[in-house]
Structures are given as structure tokens and as C-alpha cells.
Symmetry: C2
Subunit: 319 residues, 2 copies
DNA sequence: CTGAAAGCGCTTACAG
DNA sequence: CTGAAAGCGCTTACAG
């Protein structure tokens, strides 16, 4: 920077003003000389020095509850894109469903002086808002936040999604519609389950199934139901992971989807379009959620309603 | 840091030595006082200042050819874990199959002073080694690197993987085995295809299929083959994405896998275990590849042979 | 509109 | 074994 200033016959202050377009004006002629000198010397500002001095790094930390899960992966991708468009770099971390690992990542990201934190939390994660606030770093949860968390949470209209799925299956003539939830369904899945429950009729408990949000567990579950001759005629799964496991277990058990088992999933990740058969889903508005979260983290006053998850009709429902 | 030094009755130099366990020794008693003072004050070293001074940030840049693709996502996850174990933070970027975006990401990561660059490149990406070398930053390619790239490339033993798949299908009695490659198959897929070709018999061209590495394209391809009554009896797909698209298109066309179409995929991502039917695969050693790459980026002299992709027998082959 | 200079929070030669 | 001090490359109040 000193070299550039010297070559342009000015001071480092002025070089800074032209490189950053401010905070003070620079005469057009001086500006030209600085730009020319910078180009000739191949000068690139050192972000680290800038960060130390200005206390802003241009880096945002993104923490995922479970990065192998394509739903989170897809959400992460949209957050990355939104951040990239705002010229922010993203530091990524996978909490692997561990509150301890999540806290550790927050600590490390804070030490790295991130400008903001975007967290896709999981059931049971603790609220890290106090840590972030102590460091003066804004934070926002996406899809799922801790119970009683103080930071804002961006999620889709999960109630509406579940209602759409129930109605569509009713339209196919199904009166009894089962629901596959998580083992401990707090947060967004809990809201999906509650919305289904309100429409499920007399004895929802008899129709409520539970398993972890993994293909393997759903696969095992449906095989066991097949063995017991207890496969429901219509099923809504809380997540795509579960729906995909159901499909694979049903195939292995000789249960035909959708003829013997009509299925709708409530995530609608890209995977759901190319299963056998293709899944009918309510598609979570991941892009809108990511945009909303990024907007919010830079402008706490920003407000937008929860985006809806449109019904995408494919084959697994019987259409 | 000055506060800690004052409280411990010593200098900032000594505080630095104890926080970093070096480079100089500190008397045990002094060390204790510093640690106590740091704990009482809740002192956390500022990584940015440390980076400015020591010219090492503890951050590694990871660039992915296409982050929505689960194969790359899975590879990324292993790289992240390996880096996390070495106490490195990871800056992530998605090139989206664009050489231009890849170059831009490298520029930004270099400006952010990353200590190293790990790149999962795509067909046709240009070599960014000169950029990295100019900045004195080590770089390693994983899975796929540019043609004639100067940096090291870590990949699996792709030739062996394709051979295993051919042999297994032969064992099922298939003499004519088709191969689904990419549209322009350089790099690892090219090596898989070449290994198959060497074993394919008289007229490999008649058995060579091509489409992009996406579910959608493979889905369309198999439907068209079904319409033309030209579905092969046995098929090896270069990637899981393609295999999954084949499965979904075959289902839609009423072609039974494995009875009418035996299938083996050469990626073996976690997804492949829960398709309908479950895919027989050669499982790419992603974890070993990630470890190897991370090892290599910190120690250019490190050497290990290409890891093999074991055959994982499930249902799609006919077993 | 511009310059000289302080200071961000560290690390590390230098001197003792 | 320890301390005083320079300096990493910037930004920005201060003074003109």
C-alpha cells in the first residue's frame, strides 16, 4: 500500500479511500493515479490487515446440524449463494447433531471474528445467542432453532405444508392417513405433525409412526410393518430421508408404491424428483428461507412472512 | 493480552509464548500465573491479529465443482472433518462447473490469506496452480484436476473399480455389458470408462452410452432406450447420480431392475444403499482420499498409493 | 481535498 | 528464563 501511495505521489490514506470508495472523497485525477499505480504493481489489499483495523472480516459462519443430510446440504448451498452475492466468504462447520460440537464451532468462528452467524440447528441444541451477543455478533437460526432461543428463526409455513398433503391424499380417497415423524419431534417437524394430527380424525395415535430422520431407520421400519401386515394405505413422511428409506424398504418387502402404499413427503429436496417412483412432495422453499435469513442477519429490522411449501405432484401419491 | 500480562505480572511476549506453547520455554510458575490471569479475564487470542503478524490464518479454502451433487458433498464433508481434526477452519465455495467462478473463488480465498487450497475440480476447469504459487499457497486437487495441472491430484484406483464391476456382472452371466459415461469424460470417469472398454469385447462403441452426470439426464436416457426397445441387459454407470436416474426412469418405463436390467454404479455414495432396489456399487474411498489430500497439502513429501474402491454387493446387480 | 500518524492485537527478533 | 519494542498492512480521527 505504501508502494502504491509512493508511486501515485500521495498518501496511504488516499489509497485506502480509493480502494474502498470512501469514507472520504478523492479528486478524480488523484483517484486515476492511484488506480493506475495499483494496477501496475498488482496491488491487492490485505483482508486480514483490514479486518484487524476495521473489525469486520467479510466472513460469515454457517453451522449445520448434519451436513451429510441433503436437506441441510441444499439449504447450505442456498445460504452460500446468498452470501456470495453479498460478497461474503463463508466458513462452514458441521455440528453432527452434537450440542457440544456446535458450541465449539461457535467459539472458533467467533475467535475468527465472523461478522455474523447462520445456524441450522437440530432438536435439542442449546441456544448460542448469549455467546454471540457477548461478542457483538448477530445470529439467525434457519429451519430449526433451540427451544426458547432469543435469536430470530426463519422457517417455512410447515402447518400449511402438512395440511396440503393431507388434503391431497383425501382427494385420492384415503380416509386414514398415517404420519411418520421423528423420534423426538420438536421444531418444524413438530409443527408438521401437529397440523396433520388436527386433521387425522378420531385416533391419531394409532396412525402416528416414529423413527430417526435417516433412510436406514425408515427402511427398517417399513419392513417391520410389512412383516406385521400393518402397512398403512396412505402415509405422509416428515422428511425426504424417511420417504426414501420407505421406498427402498417397500421395494425390498414387495409393497407397491403407490398402489398399496400412497406416499407424500414434506421436504421436497431435489432428490425427491428421481426416486422410484418419483415422490409427491410439498417443496420447502429453501431458497427463500436462505435469502430471508441472510437478509435478516444484516438487517435485524427486516421482515417477511413465512414462505409456503408448494405441493409438487409426482407419482408416489397415486396420481 | 496486555491486561493478561499486567495481571500475571509479566510481558505480552510471555503471554504469547504460553498461549502458543512456544516458540520459547516459560518457567512453570510464570506459565501458571498467565493461565490463571487469562482464565479470570476470559481472554481469547485474536486470530486476526495473529494472522496478520504470523502470516498464517489457520484457514483452508475448499472449492467444489458442484456442491449440490452428493458425491462432492460427501467428499467435502470428509475434507472438512480432516481439517477440523487439524484445527483448521474451512472456507467453502461452489464453482458450479464454471472455470470463471472457480478462478474468482481462488482469488478471494487467496486475498483472505488461506493457508492452503483443496480443489475438487471438474472437466475443463483450468489449472489454478500458478495463481496459488504466486501467493505461496500450497494446493492439491482431489478426485479430478485440470489436464496437465502442476499440483498433485488425489484420486481412487478407478481402473480397478471398473474392472471389479465388469467381473461381477460377468459372474452373473452377462456377456455384453454397457457403460454409461459422461458427455465429455476426462479425468476419473475417463479412466473408469477406459478400463471397462478394455474388457468390453469386440465392439465397445455399440455398448457405450453417454449423458450428463445428473439424475434427470439419465432418467430421460433410459426412457428413450425403453421406447426404442434398446435397454441393455447389464449396465455400469460411471456415477451414482446416473444410476439413480436410471432407476427412476426404469421404474417409470416398467423395466424391472435387476431382472431386466442389471446395474452397478461406480461411486457408492451413502445414497446408493437406500434406492429401490438398493444399488450394487464400487464404493469410492472418499474418506481415505480426503485424508490423503489434507495430509498432502501440509506435507508435499507425503506419499500414499491410490486407495481402492471395494465392491459392495446389494440388489441391483441381481444378487 | 490531502497528509502524517496512531493504533488494531498479536509475534518475534534483540538484548539482557 | 524474561522484557521492551518493532512491525505485520491496513483505517481513520486529527489537522491542515
Amino acid at each position: 500500500m505504501a508502494d502504491v501511495a509512493r508511486r501515485a505521489g500521495t498518501s496511504t490514506a488516499v489509497v485506502s479511500y480509493v480502494m474502498n470508495d470512501g469514507p472520504r472523497a478523492v479528486a478524480a485525477a488523484t483517484r486515476e493515479r492511484v488506480l493506475a499505480a495499483a494496477a501496475e504493481l498488482g496491488y491487492r489489499p490485505n483482508r486480514i490487515a483490514r479486518a484487524l483495523r476495521s473489525r469486520t472480516t467479510g466472513v460469515v459462519g454457517l453451522i449445520l446440524a448434519d451436513s451429510p443430510n441433503p436437506y441441510f446440504g441444499d439449504l447450505a448451498r442456498h445460504v452460500e449463494r446468498a452470501l456470495d452475492e453479498r460478497d461474503r466468504l463463508v466458513l462452514i462447520g458441521n455440528a453432527g447433531y452434537s450440542a457440544e460440537r456446535q458450541r465449539r464451532l461457535v467459539d472458533r468462528f467467533l475467535a475468527a471474528q465472523v461478522d455474523a452467524l447462520v445456524i441450522v440447528s437440530a432438536d435439542g441444541g442449546e441456544d448460542v445467542t448469549p455467546q454471540a451477543e457477548a461478542a457483538g455478533v448477530p445470529i439467525v437460526y434457519v429451519h430449526h432453532g433451540p427451544d426458547g432461543g432469543r435469536a430470530p428463526l426463519v422457517e417455512a409455513d410447515n402447518q400449511h405444508a402438512a395440511q396440503e398433503a393431507v388434503e391431497h391424499l383425501r382427494g385420492h380417497g384415503h380416509a386414514r392417513i398415517a404420519f411418520l415423524s421423528g423420534t423426538h419431534d420438536g421444531g418444524p417437524v413438530g409443527r408438521r405433525r401437529a397440523a396433520w394430527q388436527a386433521l387425522a380424525g378420531d385416533d391419531p395415535d394409532a396412525l402416528l409412526l416414529r423413527c430417526a430422520y435417516t433412510r436406514a431407520d425408515a427402511d427398517v421400519l417399513i419392513r417391520r410393518l410389512a412383516d406385521d401386515d400393518a402397512v398403512p394405505r396412505a402415509l405422509i413422511t416428515a422428511t425426504d430421508e424417511q420417504a426414501i428409506g420407505i421406498l427402498s424398504g417397500a421395494w425390498a418387502s414387495g409393497i407397491a408404491v403407490p398402489d398399496e402404499l400412497a406416499l407424500i413427503s414434506l421436504d421436497g429436496t431435489p432428490e425427491s424428483a428421481h426416486t422410484a417412483p418419483a415422490l409427491t412432495v410439498t417443496r420447502q422453499p429453501l431458497r427463500a428461507m436462505a435469502e430471508h435469513a441472510v437478509e435478516l442477519v444484516f438487517d435485524p429490522a427486516f421482515h417477511a412472512p413465512a414462505a409456503r411449501a408448494p405441493l409438487v405432484v409426482r407419482r408416489s401419491c397415486g396420481c
